[in-house]
Each structure stands twice: as C-alpha cells, then as structure tokens.
C-alpha cells in the first residue's frame, strides 16, 4: 500500500499547478463574469499539456493515463477553484464516450475533445429527478435505425457552450445514451452559483445517434463512469478544502482584534484544528477511492468506494466551507475575497452526482452484506 505520487505524477502536479498559478481571485472573477464562465485560452493550454485527453486511450487520441493522474488535475483545479469544467467535460462526458462509444465515435469525439476543439457536455439531470440520470423526463423513440429524443434536461452543466451533447434517456431497454448535435436543440443558458454555467435543453423529436451499440442498457457503464466522476469531484473538493483551510489559518495569524492576532483566541484555533482533522480524514478516503478505481475501474468496489469518498466529502466540505467563512468573519462574506468562492464550489460539488444523504441511502442497501469495511483487498 502506497499513498504517494511517483516522480512523473509529482511532475504532472507541478506542471498543472504552475499553469493555474495566475488564477487569483480577481482573474477568476473576471473570467466567470463572462460567458462561457471559463477561460477558453486556459482550456486550450490544458489541451496543449495533454490534460484534456488524459484518461482516454492513445488510440482514441488521449494520453492513456489512469485515475491517479486525473485526480491530480482535479485537485489542482480545486485548489484554485478554477472554473474550467475538467471533471464535467473530460471525466464525465468524455468518460462516457470512452466507455460506451463505438471505435468510430471514440475517434471522432475524443480526438476533438482532447485537442480542445470540442467541448462535450453530459445532459443527465432532469428537473424532477434529483440524481436519477434517466428518470423519464427525456424519452427515446426508435424508427428503424433512426432515434429521436423528446423532453427536457436541466440543469445541464456547460450545456449552452457545449459542442457535442451526450444525453441519457429512457428506452425500452432501460437507460440509453445518445449523441446529439447541440445546434438541433433549444438551449437556454444561465449562471450557476459557483460561477459556472448551466442550461435548460429541450428536445423535441430531436435526431440522436446511440452512443455505442443501439438498444443496450447503459445502467452499469453509467454507474462506473459516474463513480470515476464522483472520485474526481472529490479530489476537486479536497483541493478546495485544503486551500480554504490554508487561507483561514493565514487570516487567523494576521488579522487583529482586541489588540492581538486572532490565533490568540483558543476557541478559534481549536476549530481550525477540527477543520484540519476533517481535511486529513477526507484526504485519506478520497485517495484510497482513487486507488480502488485504479485497481479495477469497472467494479462494484469502485462504485462503493466512490460513494464512500463522496459521503466524506459532503460532510467535510460543509464543515470546512462553513467554518472558513465564519472564522474569517465579514470579509469571508464578500465576493472580492476568495474564500466564499471555495464554499460555493464545495456546495455545488456536494449536490452533483448525489449529496451525503444520498450516499448514505446507497450504502445502507449493502450495509448488511459485510462484517467490517476492509480498505485492503
């Protein structure tokens, strides 16, 4: 068992960190103020570094890297609350194409994604479905070899900006995944609370191509790609929590009240210690989940590990996000100061792909199946 990065991974982390270094609070504010809510130039740079093709196989135009490398990028993005939709576009939307697409679809879509030429978005949420990715709000109809979709997906992250849509829909076989040309649908974009963008997307007998073989139930493939995205989100959250704590301790050692710096108030320093405890426990379980995923990306173990990581992230993210603002006091409430951006992003991540309560419900189902939880296989 080994929790450390190897040399290449450490170098990757350094390179990503260097690239994102300029993302201070002011730069971020000006970027998220304008559509598409992220920096197209930065997206190109990420592509040039090979990061947008990181998890895809080399034959699909990617780098063939594993979950650890993905986690490194996600964590660095989290550290800067950079608004580039790495997890959404690459791990989730791209990951679905990689997992389910035909060789032709993979070559066509993923090559363009990896080069930064095409931004994919996964349209899964439905207004009344919570985290059910295909609750029936969008249905697919088959006519010979042709498929059409009808219904509404919302909120679709980066849905207005996306160059290609992957859409989940109910089919007779269960859940189907489809590729849709965004120019054929009605898209209404808007801002999200974390500075990002989302859209309402209406399908009205819209032509759609099955992703991979037609008429196959994608439930299982979806579960494992979602697990990978949950783990990547968990790393993004971990990076955000780490920096939120660092900002908080830095503030406590410099801000004066009643003639002394705030770190002279024991009640505050003890709360910072509790934040650190939350952070370290989270780091352990999230890193472990990545190793489980790396060990066997298409397994029930990976799905369970992702739920465990996401549950811990939900709790720790709330704890650290709230305390970071509270310990800052008034300044923490302002948009000018970065700490609130971290809390907003942590709140958003918590509510993507299932919050803590949802993970508890999921894990409760198999609670009786094991005696103890064993981290080592």
């Amino acid at each position: 068992m080994d929790f450390t990065l190897d040399e290449e991974q450490t170098a990757l982390r350094g390179a990503v960190r260097a690239l994102l270094k300029g993302y201070d609070a002011e730069q971020r504010r000006s970027v998220v103020a304008e559509d598409p809510g992220f920096d197209e130039g930065m997206w190109k740079k990420l592509a040039e570094m090979g990061l947008l093709g990181l998890p895809f196989s080399e034959e699909d135009g990617g780098m063939g890297a594993g979950p650890v490398e993905v986690s490194i990028v996600a964590e660095e993005i989290g550290r800067m609350v950079a608004p580039e939709p790495f997890v959404e576009a690459i791990v989730l939307a791209g990951g679905l194409v990689a997992a389910c697409g035909t060789a032709e679809q993979r070559a066509e879509i993923l090559g363009a994604v990896a080069s930064g030429a095409s931004l994919p978005a996964f349209a899964y949420a439905e207004p009344h479905a919570r985290w059910n990715v295909a609750a029936g709000g969008v249905t697919a109809s088959q006519d010979g070899d042709s498929w059409t979709l009808t219904g509404v997906k919302e909120p679709v992250l980066n849905g207005a900006r996306a160059d290609v849509l992957i859409v989940s829909a109910r089919t007779d076989a269960g859940i189907g995944l489809f590729v849709v040309d965004p120019s054929t649908v009605e898209r209404t974009g808007y801002d999200t609370i974390d500075g990002g963008r989302a859209a309402r997307i209406a399908f009205d007998k819209t032509a759609a191509a099955p992703l991979g073989e037609a008429g196959v139930d994608a439930t299982e493939a979806l579960a494992t790609v979602i697990a990978a995205a949950q783990i990547a989100y968990s790393h993004e959250a971990l990076g955000a929590m780490d920096v939120a704590l660092t900002m908080t301790t830095a503030y406590l050692t410099t801000r004066k009240q009643f003639g002394v710096t705030l770190n002279r108030f024991q009640a505050l320093t003890f709360r910072a210690a509790d934040m650190y405890t939350s952070l370290e426990l989270t780091r352990s379980i999230v890193t472990w989940a990545t190793m489980v995923l790396q060990d066997n990306p298409r397994s029930a173990d990976a799905v369970e590990a992702a739920a465990r990581a996401k549950l811990q992230v939900s709790k720790a993210g709330r704890h650290i996000g709230k305390e970071a603002i509270q310990l800052h006091g008034g300044i923490g409430m302002t948009d000018e100061y970065a700490v609130g951006h971290y809390t907003a992003r942590l709140t958003a991540i918590d509510h993507l792909l299932g919050d803590g309560r949802e993970q508890i419900a999921h894990l409760s189902k198999t609670l009786g199946d094991h005696d103890v939880v064993e981290p080592l296989p």
């Binding site: 207004p127 919570r130 909120p155 999200t192 003639g259 008034g330 409430m333 709140t347 919050d355």
Partner: protein, 386 residues
C-alpha cells in the same frame, strides 16, 4: 404556570394577524414568502402602512408613536408579522437610531428626526464597523474634529447594510483620540449620505447580491446640532442601541415559515417519505419549538426593560437554525440548487433557484450583529461567570 394566552392577548394576536394578512399588499407578502428580495419600495410602502396604523415603532416612547405594549405583545406583533411574510420595519430606523434619539437626543433633534424616521421618510444606515474594528468595535478610527460649531469627519466605515438606499447615516466617530480608554472619546453623529465628501462603494457578496457597502468620509462637514446627546458619550448610546432589542433577536417566525415551506417542498417532491429527511425535519421543528419557547420565556422575564442575558442564546441558536433550514432547502433541491441564475423560462422551480444564494447569504447571520463567538463570550462571561 399557564399555557394559554389571556383573552386580551388572544384578541391582540387576532388583531395583528388580521392586520398583517389584510392590510399589507399581497404582492409584497408573496415576494417575502418566496424568498425574493422585496426591494426598497416594498419596505417603504409596508412601513408607512404600519406607521399609519401605529404599528411601525411600538417600542418607542408613546409620545413618538410607541405603544407601551407588554413584552409579550411586542413578541406577538413581531411573530405574526413574520408568519404573514410581512417585511419588518427597517431595523436601522425602528430599533436602532430611533430609540437612541428618543432616549438621548435633544427635544429639537427628536422633533426633527423621529416622525420621518418612523415613517421611513428618512432611510437610515449604520456607520459602526470599520475595516480594522469588527467584533472589536471600540477600536474604531473614524475621526470628527471640531471646526467652529461643525465637525469635520474623516475615515471609513464598512459592512454598512443597505447603505445604497440610505438618506442619512448614524455614525460612531472618535472625537477625543487622547481618551485613556478606547471606549471613551467616541461620539454619535448624524448626517446625510449626500453630504459632500461621502462616497459609497457597494460590496458584492458571495451570493452575488449587494447589501453591504463601504462608506468613505473625506472632510465631511457635519453641523454641531447633528450630534446626539453629549460629546464623547457615544459608546454609551451604541451599547444601548446594541442591547436595546430583545424582541426579535432570533428570527423565529420567519424560520418557522421557511421550515414549513421546506416541508411543503419535501412533500411535493416525494422526499418527506425519506426517513432521513423526515427525521431531520422533526429535529429542526423541535429545536425551533424550543427556541420559540425560550424567546417567550425571555420576553416574559424582561419586564424591567433591560436586555435579558439569555438573548445571546436566542441569537446563537436562532441563527444556527435559520442557517440549518436554508441548508435543508439546498439539499431538497439537489442538483437543481446549482441553477441560481435560471429565469422563469427554466423548469427549475423558483425555490430551488433561490436556495443556494439564500444559504450562502445566511452565512452572515452568525457573523453580523455580534458574531456567535461574541454571543458565546457573553454567555460564558455574563451568565456563567467564566
């Protein structure tokens, strides 16, 4: 011990309930109920209706529009207002500067300011906090220097809530920098926000909205007659102001309303059948009940007019519950709660669009107006003698 209201109290409650649900425009109440911002006009309109009916400033001396109610009556008035989704009278006017002027101002100052303050003809804002004086308010640095009969004010205030709407500001300024204790040498000044030398910079908050401001003073000239009470005694008036309001310290009524809304949402989205959600709501309802009963106890024991030390319990627990209910609504929204920027074209219901901004905005509740750390300090020090 007695559970029931007296007949008079019941009648009073009925009277308030009827007034608030029939005399305040439905549109304003709907806006509040939905959790949208009611805006300056709605607040002004409501307060004027209430003032006309003698219900805007019941806590003031009777000769200036007050009602000489019992603390329980004040409590009922306040709760019914919130339950009916009526915007409460602007605190800066009704609970802050008004009582200070009424208690410490000269007859001239009273006559000049109290009637327009009660009617919200003047919108007041508060100039207390400064960048380096947050919880430690007394270390403020804004100065006022004598120039003939006038004062010349220089410095900066911050966290000035709704300053962008304000006509006048009431301001703590340092008039004797040589005073031995930092609490001495502070005075309480009033001046128009459009005085030459006053600049206001709105501060965007993490929910995307604007409600606090920085206010800069550069050689602002204030006539001597605008000083409240005695020079260098401003800290006393500030303490009076901060300790003045024990009714409504905890936002019980509005949190009850919000929790009922959350339950409706849970029911209509099928989530009330989730035992974990149901359990959480049961717990919140119970804690809120305990809080409301504590507020009633504090009200009953505050006949002497002094703030009950347990007010700190109300502030502490009240803001925690207010925040917890807002968090529950975010959770009920699930992924929809990201869609804060969606419009009515969206299929995301309005409550879900407002959920996260409200949650983030309410992080302020445990910071502003005496942070929860300050409240714990008061409990430990004043009540427990630690």
């Amino acid at each position: 011990m007695k559970l029931h209201l007296t007949e008079e109290e019941s009648a009073f409650r009925e009277e308030m309930r009827t007034f608030f649900t029939t005399q305040i425009p439905q549109e304003i109440r709907d806006t509040v109920a939905a959790g949208r911002h009611v805006g300056k006009d709605g607040i002004v309109e409501t307060m004027r209706i209430m003032n006309k009916a003698g219900l805007a400033v019941p806590n003031w001396p009777v000769e200036w529009g007050g009602r000489d109610w019992t603390p329980l009556q004040r409590h009922i008035w306040h709760e019914e207002m919130q339950l009916a989704s009526v915007p409460i009278p602007l605190a800066f006017n009704a609970s802050m500067v008004g009582p200070v002027i009424a208690n410490f101002g000269s007859q001239e100052v009273k006559e000049k300011f109290l009637p327009p303050t009660a009617n919200l003809d003047i919108w007041w804002c508060q100039g207390f906090s400064e960048p380096d004086a947050g919880s430690d308010l007394a270390s403020l640095r804004t100065t006022a220097v004598r120039d003939g009969d006038d004062w010349i004010v220089n410095g900066q205030k911050t966290w000035t809530t709704l300053g962008q709407f304000a006509d006048w500001i009431f301001c703590l300024v340092r008039t004797d920098p040589e005073a031995e204790k930092k609490q001495a040498g502070i005075s309480f000044l009033l001046f128009p926000m459009d005085s030459p030398g006053v600049t206001l910079r709105p501060i965007k908050l993490i929910d995307g909205g604007y409600e606090v401001n920085e206010v800069f003073f550069e050689d602002v000239r204030v006539p001597g007659e605008n000083l409240v009470g005695e020079v260098n005694k401003g800290w006393n008036y500030a303490k009076f102001l901060l300790g003045n309001e024990r009714v409504g310290v905890a936002p019980v009524g509005s949190t009850k309303r919000n929790l009922a809304t959350a339950k409706d949402i849970a029911r209509s989205t099928g989530q009330l059948d989730d035992p974990l959600i149901a359990a959480h709501i049961v717990e919140l309802e119970n804690e809120l009940l305990a809080l409301e009963l504590t507020a009633l106890r504090v009200v009953a024991n505050s006949a002497d007019g002094k703030p009950h030390p347990a007010s700190s319990v109300l502030k502490l627990k009240g803001t925690e519950l207010q925040q917890a209910v807002s968090e529950l609504i975010v959770d009920l929204g699930g992924p929809l709660s990201l869609a804060s920027g969606a419009t009515d074209e969206s299929d995301v219901p309005e409550w879900a669009r407002l959920a996260t901004p409200t949650y983030l905005n309410l992080r302020k509740a445990s910071i502003y107006g005496g942070s929860n750390e300050i409240q714990r300090q008061i409990i430990a020090g004043t009540i427990l003698g630690l």
